[in-house]
């Protein structure tokens, strides 16, 4: 049976909506970041462009577009461009399988996602693991010491923390018995997985900071030692693409955390008036809460030293993840 | 719920399957325990680890003996991936004895070289585990994984003296060429799988039944030959032998002792199971397609190995080339295949020859390398011919046993090596492959020259004014190993019945 999801124009509209949404999210996340950081530091933050500085992102965007593209003469000409393009591309691609909910309209099931892959979770892991190339290539192609160090750090850090992420997610997969994100959300009906898998949630969310290169794990760019690391030598819109990728990645990891641990589009409590609010709104709300936490953490915690970061990933997060898997598996096996 | 949805019915492995891999389980358990023990045992007491490894090997040996009586008749376990049969257990026994002997000579040698770490024993056990799995493997997947398991452990072991350039070079060479060989192996397996649709040997054998002498699937044949090339690398048969001398020379001698014997034993076991008993094609004479290639490789190995060994001046390299030649002799037993007698029955004389030769080669070669290991001086290997000069005057018993091992390698009666050669040559003549036997006899005659040369060296007085080589003390475990291998060489050379009967019984039990 052909549902509305299979029509090409529906798909096209979905893609358009998603891109517009993510770009808007990117723009206003930068504003939110500045506003919240200002509040945390007892400042006002941007408030000149538009009411409450609401047009600030537009001004920033214009600035990025019209600035001069300065690039090192000794760069690797191809790879220098591949880096930023990948950063934006991988971040957008991963979002294709995030489920925002389902609706039953006129006897047709309508999915609020672009592609329904039955190994959605693995798809996301796969695509985000490609994201490391953007950082790395940027750092390598710039032909600058700081950039190269940033690039090297990023590959080491991302690989290490990907382990932690995967291990944290396995607990959820064991409980729901599926890698299909929609199925995982569905199996949280009644009890969100954050209740059953608190350790996995903490592990995932901690590692997510490293995956998105945010404080306290922003070693690849650490401005005080590496002068912005892998994107030291990027300016104007090429830098803008890195910037974009980073913020969209934030949205992605928060969306995954929402879908896996916070019940996705499910309402807070399964009765009226909560379920009058449509699923996608719930999803958005939960993502926003997590985004706020990410920003909050960035402006409150100091940066880890590099060796401590690696130690933390391999010697703390990974063993905890293993323990979580063993315990979850044992409990599930015993209850079966 | 999820399982019920599977498109094909699933069979869950049970207790009978576990019993089928019991020896491997015991050894694997010993391997894991050993790693844990290494954490708590202080550095000065590392010899205890050798003791524990020996204990694990002995326990596994005991289980293997028990299984020999239990596995009658044998059976396939784990959905046809592994054979619990007397053939595998016979090979397991050879492997375990070899591993045990190597572990016994290791602590002293490693201490002298300053590389006595617990990982050594763990890796030896892991490699042995891989070899035992290879001996019983009846699925292409298990064969590949077992080969990789033993190879990985051996790559690391050959680089075990990691601050020494020669050892590192050996590890790297072995790794690169071994990886290359694995590529051949995998490519062959892929083609065989693609053409027959199965990874289980039993089903492949059934699929090959469709082939006849006249028509053959070229891709299947290509797969079979590529598979053979992969094996030929592992048994270091010429022209796939180029890594052997460098790796054998560069690796720590105790490791060379281990891998020169056990890798060949395990790989030949798999070769017999896969080629002689799976790719024979039953009544369809499929083996006639690959037989000439195997015979060619056998002849090349015998010629190249023996000729090259003539010019060596390092004992380790000489033994490496001798190993290449020995691989050629053993390959004769594979090349003649299961011979169809006029009476309509198949004769497995060649395969019995392979098994006998392997047992003989194991005790002899371990003995020969053990002498080099035991006598090695502090911090350096006893490598050059000059090092052996005059050994007989200072250590008459060691020199005598070394001479015996060299005789055996050369195939003189009444040693183990004689009957090994005798059996494979007879099998070749029985199968009507007289040229193969003639090549073998001719090259054996050549080999006598360099074996005797080393033997004579030991009985010469050192040259006047030459610095005398400082041999190490033999030690209790070293003497025990020498006594055991000497006894083994003589027993296999005199009482042929013992091993011959066991080999025949193990072949009767062979299942694919």
């Amino acid at each position: 049976m052909i549902g509305p999801d299979d029509l090409w124009w529906v798909l096209l509209i979905k893609c358009g909506v998603l891109v517009v949404f993510l770009l808007t999210a990117f723009a206003y996340l930068t504003l939110a970041e500045r506003k919240i950081s200002a509040r945390i530091q007892l400042r006002y933050g941007p408030n000149r462009v538009g009411p409450f500085g609401m047009l600030q992102p537009a001004a920033d965007g214009l600035k990025l577009f019209f600035k001069e593209n300065v690039a090192p003469a000794e760069r690797d000409k191809i790879l220098y461009l591949v880096g930023p393009s990948l950063a934006g591309g991988a971040a957008l691609l991963a979002y294709a399988v995030i489920p925002w909910g389902t609706n039953n309209w006129f006897g047709h099931v309508f999915h609020w996602d672009i592609a329904h892959v039955n190994v959605g979770l693995l798809f996301i892991l796969g695509v985000t693991s490609l994201g490391v190339y953007s950082l790395f290539l940027g750092g390598f192609a710039s032909n600058s010491k700081y950039s190269l160090l940033g690039g090297l750090r990023s590959s080491a850090q991302l690989i290490s923390y990907e382990m932690a992420v995967s291990f944290a997610l396995i607990g959820v997969v064991i409980l729901s018995g599926s890698l299909d994100l929609e199925h995982i959300v569905g199996s949280q009906q009644g009890l969100w997985f954050i209740v059953l898998q608190p350790l996995a949630f903490i592990l995932y969310f901690t590692a997510a900071f490293a995956e998105t290169n945010r404080l306290p794990f922003d070693l690849p760019e650490a401005e005080t030692e590496l002068i912005a690391g892998y994107h030291t030598e990027y300016s104007a819109m090429r830098f803008g693409l890195y910037f974009l990728g980073e913020y969209i990645n934030m949205v992605t990891v928060c969306s995954i955390a929402t879908a896996l641990f916070l019940g996705g589009w499910l309402p807070l409590l399964p009765f009226h008036p909560f379920d009058w609010i449509p699923g996608p709104i719930w999803f958005l709300g939960k993502v926003l809460v997590l985004l706020f936490v990410m920003i909050w953490v960035r402006w409150t915690l100091p940066r880890l030293r590099y060796d401590r970061l690696m130690n933390f990933g391999w010697k703390v997060l990974m063993p905890l993840g293993l323990i979580n898997i063993v315990v979850t598996g044992a409990v599930v096996a015993l209850r079966a | 719920m999820l399982i019920a949805a599977s498109p094909v019915p699933l069979t869950f492995p049970g207790g009978r399957d576990l019993i089928g891999i019991l020896p491997e389980l015991v050894l694997g358990g010993a391997f894991l325990l050993l790693m844990l023990l290494d954490l708590v045992i202080p550095a000065s007491r590392r010899s205890w680890l050798a003791g524990f490894a020996l204990l694990g090997i002995a326990a596994t040996f005991g289980v293997t003996i028990w299984a020999w009586f239990d596995a009658n008749p044998g059976r396939l376990v784990y959905s046809g991936s592994f054979a619990y049969d007397r053939f595998a257990l016979f090979v397991d026994a050879i492997l375990l004895v070899s591993a045990g002997l190597v572990v016994m000579i290791s602590p002293n040698y490693l201490n002298r070289r300053g590389i006595h770490y617990g990982e050594y024993y763990a890796l030896i056990l892991a490699a042995t585990l891989g070899m035992m799995l290879l001996a019983g493997a009846t699925s292409l997947m298990v064969i590949f994984l077992a080969i990789e398991l033993l190879s990985l452990a051996l790559y690391v072991l050959s680089g075990f003296s990691r601050h020494e350039e020669r050892s590192q070079e050996a590890a790297l060479k072995y790794l690169l060429l071994g990886g290359f060989a694995s590529g051949f192996l995998l490519f062959g397996m892929a083609l065989i799988y693609g053409e027959t649709g199965h990874t289980q040997l039993a089903q492949i054998a059934a699929a090959i039944q469709g082939q006849t002498t006249l028509t053959v699937d070229p891709l299947l044949l290509a797969g079979v030959l590529l598979l053979f090339i992969g094996f030929a690398f592992k048994i270091s048969a010429a022209p796939f032998h180029s890594w052997t001398p460098d790796v054998y020379q560069g690796a720590p001698t105790s490791v060379t002792t281990f891998m020169s014997v056990t890798t060949k034993v395990a790989a030949f076991a798999a070769l017999v199971r896969v080629f002689t008993y799976t790719f024979d094609g039953g009544g369809t004479h499929f083996y006639q397609h690959w037989e000439p290639v195997v015979a060619l490789v056998a002849i090349t190995s015998m010629v190249v190995g023996n000729i090259a060994a003539l010019t060596q001046t390092s004992v380790k390299r000489m033994l490496a080339y001798s190993g290449i030649a020995q691989a050629g002799y053993i390959l004769i037993g594979v090349a003649v295949g299961p011979v169809l007698l006029p009476s309509g029955q198949t004769s497995s004389f060649g395969t019995i020859g392979v098994l006998y030769y392997l047992a003989a080669y194991a005790v002899t070669n371990i003995g020969a390398f053990a002498v080099i290991t035991i006598m090695a001086g502090r911090g350096e290997d006893l490598d050059s011919y000059d090092g052996l000069r005059g050994l007989a005057h200072r250590r008459p018993f060691v020199a005598a046993s070394m001479a015996l091992f060299l005789f055996s390698l050369g195939g003189f009666p009444p040693t183990a090596g004689f009957f090994g050669k005798f059996l494979v040559f007879t099998a070749a003549i029985n199968a009507g492959q007289v040229p193969l036997a003639l090549w073998g006899i001719a090259t054996s005659a050549v080999s006598a020259f360099y074996y005797l040369r080393v033997g004579l060296l030991m009985y010469q007085r050192p040259a006047e004014g030459a610095e005398e080589y400082r041999w190490s003390r033999t030690g209790f475990s070293g003497s025990a190993v020498l006594v055991a291998t000497t006894a083994g060489t003589l027993i296999l050379g005199v009482m042929i019945v013992l091993v011959y009967t066991a080999a025949t019984a193990s072949l009767k039990g062979l299942i694919v």
Binding site: G126, L130, V132 | M35, S81, M141, L214
Partner: protein
């Protein structure tokens, strides 16, 4: 679908040539990334979503990242050789010919006999690709991951467990060989 196949296969082939002919090591490594990614896409087109994801995560996302990492760390100079010389041309021709032969032989099941070459059909009309027990619809109904898991933990349990042993040995070896100082 066929067009997509062709594009992916062409990309995989071109990028694998890039692995061999790039004069800079980093380009070789990155070409290999592209090759393994394209293989992953091929898996996806063949309806093996699980293999697709695993190929992407493990090869493109982990193994090759380490390759690239090492290349950048050591930053070797570009090789001083022409991109194409006679040997390369011969090599390419050989590879193309062998691939074509293998492909034709596999597709038509050509067998030789004493009276020349003749073709026999491999597989059956309903199952031309030798999928045997795993027809596409059945696998999709049961779920890709579930089918793989079901096979892995029953029929292929032994190879699976040996693999874990293999990885353990590899880890021990790597740790031993790279440990900084002797104890």
């Amino acid at each position: 679908m066929t067009v997509l196949f062709a594009v992916v296969i062409a990309l995989a082939a071109v990028s694998s040539l890039g692995v061999v002919f790039s004069r800079q090591t980093i380009y070789s490594a990155l070409s290999l990334v592209l090759t393994v990614s394209m293989l992953a896409v091929l898996f996806l087109l063949l309806n093996a979503q699980f293999l697709f994801a695993v190929q992407l995560i493990i090869y493109a996302g982990a193994v090759m990242v380490l390759f690239v990492f090492i290349v950048a760390l050591l930053s070797p100079d570009a090789e001083d050789r022409p991109a194409l010389d006679l040997r390369a041309v011969i090599g390419i021709t050989g590879v193309v010919v062998v691939t074509a032969l293998v492909f034709i032989a596999a597709r038509n099941g050509i067998t030789y006999s004493t009276n020349g070459f003749h073709g026999t059909v491999v597989g059956t009309a309903s199952d031309p690709y030798h999928t045997f027990n795993f027809p596409q619809d059945a696998v999709n109904n049961a779920g890709n991951v579930q089918t793989v898991a079901g096979q892995l933990f029953t029929n292929y349990l032994l190879p699976f467990e040996i693999t874990s042993m293999l990885l353990l040995v590899a880890a021990i070896g790597a740790v031993y060989l790279t440990r900084r100082s002797s104890r």
